[in-house]
Structure formats: structure tokens, C-alpha cells
């Protein structure tokens, strides 16, 4: 009981004191913090954001961090690293430029070949179009497709199937007999008749446009049947 009078308060003081005080830093901890501060300083310098005052000067808590202030800065090593990096960048750029030049050359050759092929294709297309897109003819005031023109329309359909990108305008024309306006309507009907026939041959009708010129664009201007029958026509024009 007598000893308790001193021991209990002493135990309490020791316990609370040990809880209130931070444990002292170990040598290892101090070394690490010093290194980190140093690294921070180097990085800031390399980034061009080097500080002009030591931020740890007034850090009374961690006096060891002052050692990190630009300590150990090796200018020669840093310059070499920068030169190496520049050289590496240049090498990469040079290689890329060389690759690009080679690719361009290859592409140009390919383009020339493609153009040649395209020209061949265009010539073939034009030849096929010239052969297939022939005028059809109609009877007076009629828009029915004539027996003898079916082969022509078959040819147009085959051309359209052979060249899926081709688009064609069907023109309807009339002879000079009859009124201008009625003939425009008749020309529209003739173009529509050709369109309907081509549709039955399996060609997508969205690839055709129709237009009527009535009697406004005759091929032949004389007032005789030879001329009139030439003018009563359907024309196929590439769009």
C-alpha cells in the first residue's frame, strides 16, 4: 500500500508519456527522407522548375532534409543524358522519315498502276456503254416498246449488270406532230416505258433517272416520216 502511493502515479506518468512522445526516427528513415528530398530537388531542376530557396531551411522538425538541396548534382551526367536523349530522338525521326519516303514511293507506284488499270477500265466501260446504250424507237403517239428494240434493252440491262456503279438517264423524245406540252408528257411516258421494261429485266430502277424533251430536241428537222420515226426515240445517257 505504501509503495502503491508512488508506483501507481509513476506508472500512469510513464504510460501517458510514452503515448504522447513520437518515437525517434531510425537512421534508415532519415536516410530515405534525405534521399527523397534530394531526388525531388534534382527532378525540379531537370524540369526547369528549380527552386531558388531551400524549402527545408525553416523545417526545424526535419533538419536532415536540408541535405537534399541540390546535393550531389552531376552537371556532366545530366548533359550527357540530354544529349543521348536528343540523339535517340533524332535517330527515331530519321528512321520514320526514311520509312515514309519508302512508303510514298511504293504508294506512287501503286497509284500509277491503279490509274493505268482505271484508264483501262474506263475505256472498257466507255466501249461497253457506247455499244449498249443505243436509241430505241416508238410508233406515232405510242409508248409501247417495239419487238425489235427488246434486244437493245436487253443489252442496256446487261451493261448495267456488268457495271454496277453505272447510272443512266433515259430521255424520251417525240416527233414534231402534236402540241409541245402533250409531247413532253408523251416523252415522259416513253422514258417510263423503257424504265419499266428494264426493271422487268432485273435492273434496280433507282439507277435510272428519266427526263422528257418532248419535241424540243429533234435529231432531224424535215417534215417527213423518215425524219419523224428517227425523232420518236428513247435515248440512254450516262449520268
Amino acid at each position: 500500500m505504501r509503495y502503491g502511493t508512488y508506483l501507481v502515479p509513476a506508472a500512469i506518468v510513464i504510460t501517458l508519456g510514452s503515448l504522447a512522445c513520437k518515437p525517434p526516427k531510425t537512421a534508415e528513415q532519415i536516410k530515405q527522407e534525405t534521399q527523397a528530398a534530394f531526388n525531388e530537388g534534382v527532378q525540379a531542376f531537370q524540369d526547369g522548375k528549380a527552386r531558388t530557396a531551400n524549402p527545408y531551411l525553416n523545417d526545424k522538425e526535419n533538419p536532415h532534409k536540408m541535405q537534399g538541396w541540390n546535393d550531389g548534382w552531376d552537371k556532366a551526367a545530366a548533359d550527357k543524358a540530354a544529349a543521348d536523349r536528343a540523339a535517340a530522338d533524332k535517330a527515331v525521326a530519321d528512321r520514320a522519315a526514311a520509312d515514309r519516303a519508302a512508303a510514298d514511293k511504293a504508294a506512287a507506284a501503286e497509284e500509277a498502276a491503279r490509274k493505268a488499270a482505271e484508264a483501262d477500265k474506263a475505256a472498257a466501260f466507255k466501249k461497253a456503254a457506247d455499244a449498249a446504250l443505243v436509241n430505241i424507237h416508238f410508233d406515232y403517239d405510242k409508248a409501247e416498246i417495239k419487238e425489235k428494240d427488246r434486244a437493245i434493252l436487253q443489252g442496256v440491262a446487261e451493261f448495267m449488270k456488268a457495271f454496277p456503279a453505272a447510272k443512266v438517264e433515259i430521255e424520251g423524245h417525240c416527233d414534231e406532230r402534236g402540241t409541245n406540252e402533250y409531247n413532253l408528257a408523251l416523252g415522259n411516258r416513253r422514258a417510263a416505258a423503257a424504265l419499266a421494261y428494264l426493271k422487268t429485266l432485273g435492273v434496280d430502277d433507282a439507277r435510272f433517272t428519266t427526263i422528257s424533251f418532248g419535241k424540243e430536241k429533234p435529231l432531224c428537222a424535215e417534215a417527213k416520216e423518215g425524219c419523224w420515226s428517227l425523232n420518236r426515240r428513247g435515248e440512254f445517257k450516262l449520268k
Binding site: G178, T179, N180, E181, Y182, N188, A192, T209, K217
Partner: protein, 426 residues
């Protein structure tokens, strides 16, 4: 009164049968129905006599002859300065005296008066002034119009113009206008492409079809004297478009739209709301709309019963009925300005001739009987004459005819003309 006179001409036509020889210009000044007017040479001051003879006297005489109601006395003329009685004995019913003056600043003045030779009292007196940009011949037109107006109650059409389509090179057609007497040719469009089917509203606004963008579009003027702009299609592609025709009030435009199945339909575009309404039901060709003067009926050509025939309907497409019954090809109807007649063309033995259907009588009269084709009739604003195209001298040219078909005049020697329209004003 005009209708009364028209009837007289048609009676004269029936009486003389169809023997009429068609020559280029047949100026008949002997019809008893016409008022005989004597027009001695005008007194002039400051003007060259030769100019007055060609630009005034000749113009006025032609205007009066073509009016169809006044005949100019040309034979057994009394001497210069003869008494009124002498003119009366020579056959003149009216004696016109005129005084033409050109002032120092170039302004023209025409003092005209007419005397009734029987009663020896004045029946007409008017003075015209014109600044120097107005041609002398226009003064003659104004005087002719007023003399006809004094006699019939309706102003003449000497000062009127024809708008028409003319081919300028193969595949290129443009709109032109020319005075009623063939003078003053003006080109109205320069698209370098097909431009067709002109229509002129009563206030002078044009509407027409042009292929300048490749596909046909309806262009025209929304405002009087305004710029030419696209009227239809409002957006996108319109297919086949022809025959825009202004309604008499100028607020609607009838036109024809064709579809890809070969049908064409009469449409009406409301210029206010830009809404287009279809009046016919896609059953073949329906084209060439022509409004009646009230704007509540439309005559048009349709082949719904076989060949082209003229039909009538209300402006909403109802009350459809066929007008023409004879012939296999009747087309191009033109409703007369007073509403009582419809002109059209009919094919007979391979040629086309003009006919006039009289709605009151329910029958048609043949106007032209030629070895050549006559097409595109359009009425004069006073309903006394029609302008049309004919190839009687080779290429298609403009002609006018009275309703008897006996007085056919070549309007101009321009070749390659089509679709004439006749309107008042220069």
C-alpha cells in the same frame, strides 16, 4: 358588244363557207359590220413627214384594220382639206383629224379628234403626251386603242405584247417578247438551255419551265417586276414538269407534273402556302391546263379515253367532263378572256388546225383551214383575235387570226417560234 360582233363574224364565216383563201395578209376593209373611218394625213410640226408616214399613219392604219371593228377608208379619198360632206359621200362614217407636234425638248404631243360625218358632231377628242423615250408608234397604238374603246366600250389591244419561246440554237430555247405589231423584239431569258411554256400573269409576272439545271424546273417571278426565282419543286427533284399557268388572280399556278410510271397530272401550287395539290388521278396523260376567267374551272388535255381530248373540271378536280367529241387528237385548250369560248387545236388529215368551241352553243367552229399546221392558240386580251404558230412558210412563225379565220396576219418573220401568249401593255 364584243360578243355581238364576234357573232357577226362567225355568221359571215358560215355564210361564206370555208372557201376562204389563206394568203399571207388579207386586209379586208369592206365588211359592213365595221365602222368606216377616214384618216387624212395628220398635221405635223417638228417631225419628218416620212417618219410620220411609217411610224404613225401606217401603224395606226394597221392597228385599226387588225382591231376588226374599224375599217380605214382607202379608196376614192377626197382632196386634202375637203369638207366633211365630201368625206361622208366617200363613205366615211368617222373622220379622224390629228395634229402631231414634237417640242424642242423632244416631247411628243398628239391631239386627236373624230367627227361623226352624218351628225357632224365630235365623237372623240383626246390629247396624248409622251416623253422622248416613248416611240412615236406607241402614240399611234394608244390612239387606236382609245378609238376602238370609244366604239365598242372595250379598249383595243394595239398596245399589247406577245411573250413566246424561240430557238436560238439547236437545243437552246429562250423567252422573247415582241409588240403586237411585230416591232420591239426583246429577249427575256438567257439561260443557254431549254426554256419552255411561258405564262404571264395579269400584272406581268412570268412563269416558265427551264432545263438550265439539267432536270426541268418551274421558274418565275413571285413579285411584280421581281427577280426570276425557282417556284417548283420547292425542294428536291420534281420529275417531269411542264405548262405552268397563272390563275387569273395570279395567286395560284397550275402546272403539270409527270411521274416515273409515265403518267402526268394537273397540279395547282398555292404561291402563298407553297402547297401543291394534285387535281387529276394519275390515269394517263393530263396536261395543258387553262384557267377560266373566274379561276374556278380548268380546261386540259387528257388521253384517259384513248387519244388526246379536251376535258373540263373544277379547280378542285371535281365535275370532270369531256368537251371535244369529234376528231382523234384535240389538244392545247385556251379559255377565252370572257369565258364563253375555248380555242384548241385538232388534227385532221395529218395537219393541225385551230378550232373554237363556243360553250353557249355547245359546238366547235374551225378557224384555220390550211395545208400547213397551226398550233398553240392564245387569245388576245379583247378576245377578238388569236395568236398562234404555223409552219405555212417553212419554219414555225407567229401569226394572228380573227375569229373568221379570213384575216390571218404574220406577226413577225422570226423563225423557230412556239408557245405565244398575248397580254396587254408594252
Amino acid at each position: 358588244m364584243p360578243r355581238f360582233l364576234v357573232r357577226i363574224f362567225l355568221c359571215a364565216l358560215v355564210a361564206s363557207g370555208l372557201r376562204a383563201q389563206q394568203t399571207e395578209v388579207v386586209l379586208t376593209a369592206t365588211s359592213s359590220a365595221k365602222l368606216v373611218l377616214a384618216m387624212p394625213a395628220p398635221k405635223t410640226s417638228g417631225l419628218d413627214a416620212a417618219l410620220v408616214a411609217t411610224e404613225y399613219s401606217a401603224v395606226l392604219q394597221r392597228d385599226l384594220d387588225e382591231s376588226g371593228v374599224i375599217a380605214v377608208l382607202q379608196e376614192r379619198l377626197p382632196a386634202e382639206g375637203a369638207a366633211v360632206k365630201a368625206w361622208k359621200e366617200a363613205g366615211a362614217q368617222w373622220l379622224l383629224s390629228a395634229k402631231l407636234t414634237r417640242a424642242a425638248n423632244g416631247e411628243l404631243q398628239l391631239e386627236a379628234s373624230a367627227l361623226d360625218t352624218a351628225a357632224e358632231k365630235g365623237v372623240f377628242n383626246r390629247t396624248y403626251h409622251a416623253n422622248k423615250i416613248v416611240p412615236l408608234r406607241y402614240l399611234a397604238h394608244y390612239l387606236a386603242d382609245d378609238l376602238v374603246g370609244r366604239l365598242t366600250g372595250e379598249k383595243g389591244v394595239a398596245s399589247s405584247r406577245i411573250v413566246f419561246v424561240r430557238q436560238t440554237s439547236p437545243g437552246v430555247k429562250e423567252l422573247f417578247q415582241v409588240d403586237r405589231d411585230g416591232a420591239g423584239l426583246i429577249q427575256l431569258t438567257r439561260y443557254g438551255s431549254l426554256t419552255l411554256s411561258p405564262s404571264v400573269a395579269s400584272d406581268g409576272r412570268l412563269a416558265y419551265v427551264t432545263y438550265k439545271g439539267g432536270a426541268p424546273e418551274i421558274w418565275g417571278q413571285r413579285k411584280k417586276d421581281g427577280p426570276h426565282e425557282k417556284l417548283y419543286p420547292v425542294s428536291g427533284a420534281g420529275g417531269m414538269l411542264t405548262s405552268p399557268v397563272w390563275s387569273p388572280d395570279g395567286k395560284r399556278l397550275a402546272f403539270v407534273q409527270g411521274d416515273r410510271r409515265g403518267n402526268s397530272d394537273i397540279m395547282v401550287l398555292d404561291l402563298g402556302s407553297l402547297r401543291a395539290r394534285r387535281l387529276t388521278d394519275s390515269n394517263g396523260i393530263n396536261t395543258e391546263p387553262s384557267w377560266n376567267p373566274n379561276g374556278n374551272q380548268i380546261a386540259f388535255t387528257s388521253d384517259r379515253e384513248g387519244g388526246p381530248q379536251v376535258f373540263l373540271m373544277q379547280d378542285d378536280g371535281s365535275n370532270l367532263r369531256r368537251l371535244t367529241s369529234e376528231g382523234l387528237y384535240n389538244a392545247s385548250p385556251a379559255w377565252s378572256p370572257n369565258g364563253a369560248m375555248i380555242a384548241y387545236v385538232s388534227r385532221f388529215e395529218g395537219k393541225f388546225d385551230l378550232f373554237v368551241y363556243k360553250l353557249g352553243e355547245g359546238r366547235a367552229y374551225q378557224i384555220t383551214t390550211g395545208v400547213s399546221t397551226s398550233e398553240s392558240p392564245a387569245w388576245s386580251p379583247d378576245e377578238r383575235r388569236m395568236v398562234f404558230t404555223s409552219n405555212r412558210f417553212g419554219s414555225s412563225q407567229l401569226f394572228t387570226t380573227d375569229l373568221s379565220g379570213r384575216q390571218i396576219l404574220r406577226l413577225s418573220e422570226l423563225a423557230g417560234c412556239q408557245s405565244p401568249r398575248w397580254i396587254r401593255g408594252h
